[in-house]
């Protein structure tokens, strides 16, 4: 049974070119970049070259890139680092990843609603900013990890400029590198979270773009690395891999977007044809998915629960997919994103997320197009007294 990997939003396979770029670093560039001797300088050079290359993709200066251990740490640094540096409340959208939502919640900040298609309610944003003044930071992600919905950060920036002019705009763009011109899309954000492993790079490394002049209190103290913004011996191989993956993502983006767009259309059509009462989550009234990145197919299947569906897809068909997010125990959690979008809890219980990426093939898509309806049919047949198994 050929394995079919449809969970790129969770993480993506490491690209062979990336592995190729990392191995010599792991093997030969063992120095600590903070030192002064030959081996240290060689490692430092590799790190700084990676920084330059990532900065070019992100549309910022090299000095504005702070390497971290991943997107979660970058979000934490952005939010807590800003709040520590300037007085005020953090505000975020209701559909942020927990790495943002939980921090804002812990700090007592409000959330801004989204509409049924997952787009930020700009009027509610304006009202929230006025009520929460003074606002330290506004955090709105670029591409949603569950639905792929893309936010209009320029419009968000306008509202922030008008209603909370002193506030910093942060965006979690962890899902964006494969799908958008991140430099253009985040041009008005002050802080940008980037992640490596969603676009074929290694896990364990990420970055926060901190535009010049934005004050950030470091969260990690110690050796003063990253210009005092993030202490700790850097993962040089990881940074090199991250830069390689980000560059490849940029070069291949328009091809990937075109391929994925066609595949998404094919998958949605096949699923709707075989399971007519299925709902395409971000396009409930058939309004189309132009506002969602083409890598995402997120649906809600009536009469079926996510866990057994995922089990059958994996066990019977070799298809790796997911529903909402996995919690620490490995169980599927109820989705706050779907709740914020106003999806009925019963419908949300049967959610399925299929995500495409750099390694997806046409054969994968065809296999999934038949596997999902087969699994759905089997589970529906097994329901007893109207209760989904």
């Amino acid at each position: 049974m050929t394995p079919r990997y449809l969970d790129h939003a969770a993480t993506s396979p490491l690209r062979p070119e990336v592995l190729g770029a990392m191995v010599p670093v792991l093997r030969d560039l063992h120095g600590n970049p903070s030192g002064g001797h030959g081996p240290a300088r060689a490692a430092r050079a590799a790190l700084e070259e990676a920084r330059d290359r990532l900065a070019a993709v992100a549309g910022c200066a090299a000095g504005e890139v702070v390497f971290t251990s991943g997107g979660t740490e970058a979000d934490d640094l952005a939010l807590r680092g800003t709040v520590a540096a300037r007085p005020g409340t953090p505000v975020c959208s209701a559909t942020e990843h927990h790495a943002v939502l939980d921090v804002v919640g812990r700090l007592g900040g409000p959330v801004v609603e989204v509409d049924r298609r997952g787009l930020l309610d700009l009027d509610h944003l304006a009202r929230t900013l006025s009520q929460a003044a003074p606002v330290a930071v506004v955090s709105v992600h670029l591409v949603n990890n569950e639905t792929g919905v893309v936010q209009d950060l320029d419009a968000v920036a306008e509202v922030v400029a008008r209603h909370a002019p002193g506030a910093v705009l942060h965006t979690d763009a962890a899902q964006a590198l494969s799908w958008l011109d991140v430099a253009a899309a985040t041009a008005r954000a002050d802080l940008v979270t980037l992640a490596s492993h969603k676009c074929g790079g290694p896990k364990g490394v990420g970055a926060l773009v901190v535009r010049d002049g934005r004050a950030i209190e470091p969260r990690l103290l110690g050796g003063g690395q990253e210009r005092g913004r993030r202490a700790g011996t850097p993962d040089v191989a990881g940074a090199v891999g991250f830069a390689a993956a980000a560059e490849l993502a940029r070069v291949e983006r328009s091809d990937l977007v075109a391929r994925a767009g066609a595949w998404r259309a094919r998958l949605v059509a096949a699923l709707v044809a075989e399971v007519p009462d299925l709902v395409v989550t971000a396009a409930p009234t058939g309004s189309g998915l132009d506002h969602a990145a083409p890598g995402w197919v997120h649906v809600c299947v009536p009469g079926v629960r996510s866990e057994p569906l995922l089990f059958l897809l994996d066990d019977e068909h070799g298809v790796a997919a997911s529903a909402a997010s996995s919690c620490a125990s490995g169980a599927q959690e109820r989705s706050h994103v779907l709740a914020a979008m106003g999806v009925d809890p019963q419908a949300a219980a049967g959610s399925l997320r299929l995500t495409l990426g750099w390694s997806t093939t046409g054969a994968d898509v065809e296999a999934v197009a038949s596997a999902v309806p087969a699994a759905v049919a089997r589970l529906r047949a097994a329901a007893r007294h109207g209760v989904a198994v």
Binding site: P308, L312, D315, S329, G330, A331, Q332, A382, R384, V389
Partner: protein
């Protein structure tokens, strides 16, 4: 050889159940049920317990999954538990969990996913010919859990395996030790999983229903004292009734939260000749002759005869707390079960 789904709580019994099935040549997959969503990391099936189950599964070379049933658990186990206490009854939520979740919902899902059998680590056995199987007491009488398995339907009894029922608890721990399972010395959970995780019964119920102080009265209605929380008193209880101890012990004979009273009486007042079990169901065929009846999880079996839905004790026995399971045994086998009115 069957494909079996083993419910693994992260405890030693279900760990060994999985090991035994594997040893017998079955294709085994382990699953931990996520039932309770509380944030505290105590009690059964916390994240640490899931990790233990997963580690045992890995050691046994068995796949491990997690199934979430928090909504069903809330609706079918927790809410009725709370409502029963509010009405002065003494529920047994483990029985309801077995009835609705482990041996109904899970069984249905297992079947849909291509499993022939579901197994648990309960200390009990399933005996009898195919089509007429009954739950029976486990080999280790002190650990026997047949009582909480009385609600298994006929279909459930055909499709369930109870691998550790033939072993004593020490044999189970020894086997776990031999296999190098990290749960070999793990302590047993001592209370209802969601109550333990919430910090005790008073804390748990107090967060959900009003707990009222009540008057302790004798059978003539004379007020003898007060209790803090009427809803936490169980029929048959002696301690915690706010009465002086001594030569003439008093027992709770009736609990009435609506009236705000706990009626107490002597040990003799607690004796009755029967218990009504309106929802009594026979496992296979009704038994007309002498049986024994167990009326609490660790209660001594009492000789009795069953007449319709009335269980008549052979000699006077202590009143059964309303809401407790009444389980009828024919020798060691569960012949019938229901709930005391």
């Amino acid at each position: 050889m069957a494909r079996g789904l083993v419910a693994m709580s992260g405890g030693v019994d279900s760990s060994v159940a999985a090991a035994l099935l594997r040893r017998q040549g079955h294709e085994v997959v382990g699953v931990t049920l996520k039932l309770w969503g509380g944030p505290s990391d105590r009690g059964c099936c916390s994240v640490a317990d899931v990790d233990d189950a997963r580690a045992v599964a890995r050691r046994l070379g068995v796949d491990h999954h997690v199934f979430t049933y928090t909504d069903d658990f809330d609706r079918l186990v927790v809410e009725p538990y709370v409502a029963d206490h509010a009405a002065g009854r003494t529920p047994n939520p483990c029985v309801e969990c077995n009835r609705h979740l482990k041996f109904d919902r899970l069984l249905a899902r297992a079947e849909a996913l291509g499993f022939d059998r579901v197994a648990t680590g309960h200390h009990a056995r399933l005996v009898g010919p195919p089509g007429r199987r009954r739950v029976a007491r486990g080999a280790d009488r002190a650990k026997d859990q047949s009582y909480v398995l009385h609600p298994l339907s006929a279909a459930a009894r055909e499709r369930t395996l109870l691998p550790v029922g033939e072993l004593t608890k020490s044999e189970v721990r020894a086997l776990a030790g031999e296999l190098g399972l990290r749960t070999a010395d793990k302590a047993e959970s001592q209370d209802t999983c969601f109550v333990l995780a919430s910090g005790g019964r008073r804390a748990f119920l107090g967060d959900r229903i009003p707990l009222h102080p009540g008057r302790v009265v004798d059978r003539d209605g004379r007020v003898l004292g007060r209790v803090e929380d009427v809803e936490l008193v169980t029929v048959g209880q002696r301690r915690g009734l706010g009465l002086p101890g001594g030569a003439d012990p008093r027992y709770a004979v009736a609990v009435d939260p609506a009236a705000g009273t706990v009626t107490v009486g002597s040990a003799a007042d607690l004796l009755v000749d029967r218990v009504e079990v309106p929802d009594l169901v026979w496992a296979t065929v009704p038994v007309a002759g002498p049986v024994t009846v167990q009326c609490s999880a660790h209660g001594t079996p009492r000789p009795a005869v069953v007449d319709g839905t009335t269980v008549r004790f052979t000699s006077p026995e202590r009143r059964v707390a309303p809401g407790q399971s009444v389980v009828v045994y024919e020798a060691d086998e569960v012949a019938a079960g229901g709930t005391a009115a």
